[in-house]
């Protein structure tokens, strides 16, 4: 009897929510996962488990940086080996977003038709959903300082990971063995583990916090990392070469996380290689946009570690033209103090030709630049010259900034470093819409 009630209840919820999703879409209110998720959560508290139980293999990906790229890489690999894959986007990595995703993908009776679910999960959400989702594999990319105003402190994130792991003794754990914080968490756990990492000669570029464990040995090691001229990347694991289109050595970690997960799911190496090669560059993570014969390469940076990695990547370019956009809305993190923790000093090695600054906290960026270099001279109302060689343009309004770049024809190629909502504004201005689909 109870089962039947639950079934009817689920059915009602699914119908209502499908209607709401349609309405939200018709009204053009973005991707709108919040409201449908809220409704389903209130109407049927057991719905998440109901959906998760229908998919045989579930892989959860969490960590402060690289969740989305890892998800896209692993989904691409699984699809290359012929599996039916359900994946989420970063906008739906919390409970309500997941519910909304499941409902939008199921049929009218609530049936889901997938072999694998590859889901990135926001760190604080993980312990709250892990039992219902019952993952076969859990992937931990890293544990950096990120959005500290959102969950206060890293120690708390660490506790969330530990809590989630204790609730999931069945899950195979795939994790970044180069990150001392993660190694520390996983010490003493009974889960089957697979550690991945870079050849030690590359680790110097990464500012992991904490003491490295002695005699730490990773199960999968990427070596011979090469960055191509188009900023695509190649690397080797044992004697096999893998390549993919995302830029930068830090994306090797994400690719490696996906390869390690695929291996633990017994996917064959040729399929893994094919999947990586075919993977699309994720939204804002090295994505290329073209408009009026200007190319923009989008590089998301939302915390010091992420921004330092972008700067490391730009060392491979020659006198690049940069656009840096800093917003301080909730999705960006309202506290912009992190730009003072990031190593802007790396810009001295990069030697940009030009920097255009924009976003709701562009003034703060200009100030950070002033305190990076020796001297800043004002050349015009919105123009500065840094150390007699770097041109800086200051246009906080992103709409104006795009017009300015197009009108002045300053360059044919820009690297755009941006926080999350700044990217949405930038895309909207450039392409007429903020999101794909």
């Amino acid at each position: 009897m109870l089962k039947l009630v639950v079934a009817i209840n689920n059915q009602a919820t699914i119908s209502v929510v499908k209607l709401v999703q349609k309405a939200v879409r018709l009204l053009g209110r973005g991707d709108g996962t919040a409201l449908p998720g809220l409704i389903s959560e209130k109407m049927s508290p057991k719905l998440l488990k109901f959906f998760a139980d229908q998919i045989p293999h579930k892989i959860l990906i969490t960590g402060t940086n690289g969740k989305t790229t890892t998800q896209i890489a692993l989904s691409s690999i699984l699809r290359a080996s012929g599996k039916r894959v359900l994946a989420n986007a970063s906008g739906s990595n919390m409970r309500r977003g997941l519910l909304s995703l499941f409902i939008s993908k199921c049929d009218r009776r609530g049936k889901l038709n997938y072999d694998y679910a590859v889901l990135e999960i926001e760190e604080a959400t993980l312990p709250k959903v892990v039992q219902e989702l019952n993952p076969e594999v859990m992937v931990f990319t890293n544990l950096y300082r990120d959005q500290l105003d959102a969950y206060a402190e890293i120690d708390r994130t660490k506790e969330m990971f530990v809590k989630a792991l204790k609730l999931s003794p069945q899950a195979k754990v795939v994790f970044n063995g180069d990150d001392p914080r993660l190694s520390d968490i996983l010490k003493g756990l009974e889960n089957e583990c697979l550690k991945f990492g870079l050849d030690p000669s590359y680790i110097l570029d990464f500012k992991y916090e904490g003491e490295h464990l002695k005699n730490q040995k990773n199960d999968l090691v990427a070596s011979k990392i090469k960055i191509n001229d188009d900023l695509g990347t190649r690397f080797q694991i044992e004697d096999e070469e893998y390549s993919f289109a995302s830029p930068g050595i830090f994306n090797v970690y994400n690719a490696l996380a996906a390869v390690a997960s695929a291996k633990s799911l017994k996917i064959l190496i040729p399929d893994i290689k094919k999947g990586l090669l075919l993977m699309k560059t994720p939204f804002g993570r090295g994505e290329v946009l073209k408009k009026n014969s200007i190319t923009y390469r989008l590089l998301l940076a939302k915390n010091p570690a992420g921004l330092n990695l972008v700067f490391q990547l730009l060392k491979h370019t020659n006198k690049p033209n940069l656009i840096i956009l800093l917003n301080d809305k909730i999705a960006d993190g309202r506290d912009v103090s992190w730009i003072w923790d990031a190593d802007f000093e790396l810009l001295k090695d990069i030697g940009p030709n030009m920097v255009i600054l924009g976003g709701s906290r562009a003034e703060e960026l200009l100030l950070r630049l002033k305190y990076t270099f020796e001297d800043v001279v004002k050349m015009g109302e919105r123009a500065y010259l840094i150390d007699k060689k770097i041109q800086v343009f200051f246009t906080p309004d992103i709409k104006e900034l795009v017009n300015f770049a197009e009108r002045e024809k300053l360059s044919k190629y820009f690297y755009v470093i941006h926080t999350y909502t700044a990217m949405l504004e930038f895309r909207k201005r450039l392409l007429g819409k903020a999101l794909n689909e």
């Binding site: 402190e153 103090s337 003072w340 003034e363 200009l366 100030l367 305190y371």
Partner: protein, 264 residues
């Protein structure tokens, strides 16, 4: 003149443990503003690994995460209290942010009810209301500078464009004075400051300046940054030093941008 070059020593207390939310920006601001004036500045790190704190002209300590703070409390209060007291009494300049501020008080009562003794240099006590994020004082912070402090700043900084301080606070601990008369940095115009009741921000005692403002506080508040350097210079050189005013248009532009938004 060359043989005794003008110089200052800046001691960064617990740079590994007490450095969060961009606090490092304060070191950058002090260093650059000394460089631009031709004052040689040496930054010395003094962490848990040092048995003694090296003597300096300016001391800086930022905020930290709870666990790191406990380690630092232990080290500082048990092993280095005497040195700090002596330096404070010599009118040395201290800038303390968030956790550093709390640590200089009498005690800190954490969310589990544990009481941790501080240095007792500032007559304050701090209590954490609970471990929930919702209890945190979190957001942009705008402070009207205390008139007496503003007057003092005027001796070091000629053109204070706005008599305010801007920053970003992020703390669960709420700080109260244990005495009736005390000096602060000013009155909170936007945000919380020491606690949501008094609407006061920070604390002053001799040349100790304490604040809840991350952001970091100094780059966007050049008047405060210069005042700290000026006090340290006076301490070391009396009145026998040259003091330049810098061009701070970019600093004030950043200050006013966030200030104006908060007052809208």
């Amino acid at each position: 003149m060359n043989k005794d070059k003008i110089s200052l020593k800046l001691v960064h207390l617990y740079p590994k443990e007490m450095n969060i939310y961009g606090d490092r920006g304060n070191i950058i601001a002090l260093t650059k503003r000394c460089d631009w004036r031709g004052i040689e500045i040496e930054v010395i790190n003094a962490g848990l690994d040092k048995n003694e704190i090296p003597e300096g002209d300016i001391y800086f300590m930022g905020g930290g995460q709870d666990n790191d703070m406990y380690l630092v409390f232990d080290d500082l209060v048990k092993r280095k209290k005497k040195f700090i007291e002596t330096e404070v009494n010599k009118n040395k300049v201290f800038l303390l942010i968030c956790g550093g501020f709390q640590l200089f008080g009498k005690f800190f009562l954490d969310s589990s009810g544990r009481q941790i003794d501080g240095l007792g240099i500032l007559s304050i006590e701090t209590q954490a209301p609970g471990n929930q994020v919702k209890d945190r004082c979190l957001g942009n912070l705008l402070t009207q500078i205390d008139p007496d402090l503003l007057n003092q700043i005027g001796s070091a900084y000629e053109e204070v464009i706005s008599p305010t301080l801007v920053g970003f606070e992020n703390h669960s601990g709420q700080t109260f004075s244990t005495e009736e008369h005390f000096e602060t940095l000013g009155r909170v115009v936007y945000g919380r400051g020491n606690n949501p009741k008094d609407l006061l921000e920070g604390f002053r005692y001799k040349n100790v300046f304490a604040s809840y403002s991350h952001g970091p506080i100094l780059p966007k508040n050049p008047h405060l940054a210069d005042f700290l350097i000026y006090q340290a210079m006076q301490n070391k050189y009396g009145d026998k030093f040259e003091w330049l005013q810098l061009d701070d248009k970019i600093e004030w532009q950043a200050h006013l941008a966030i200030k104006d938004r908060l007052l809208k």
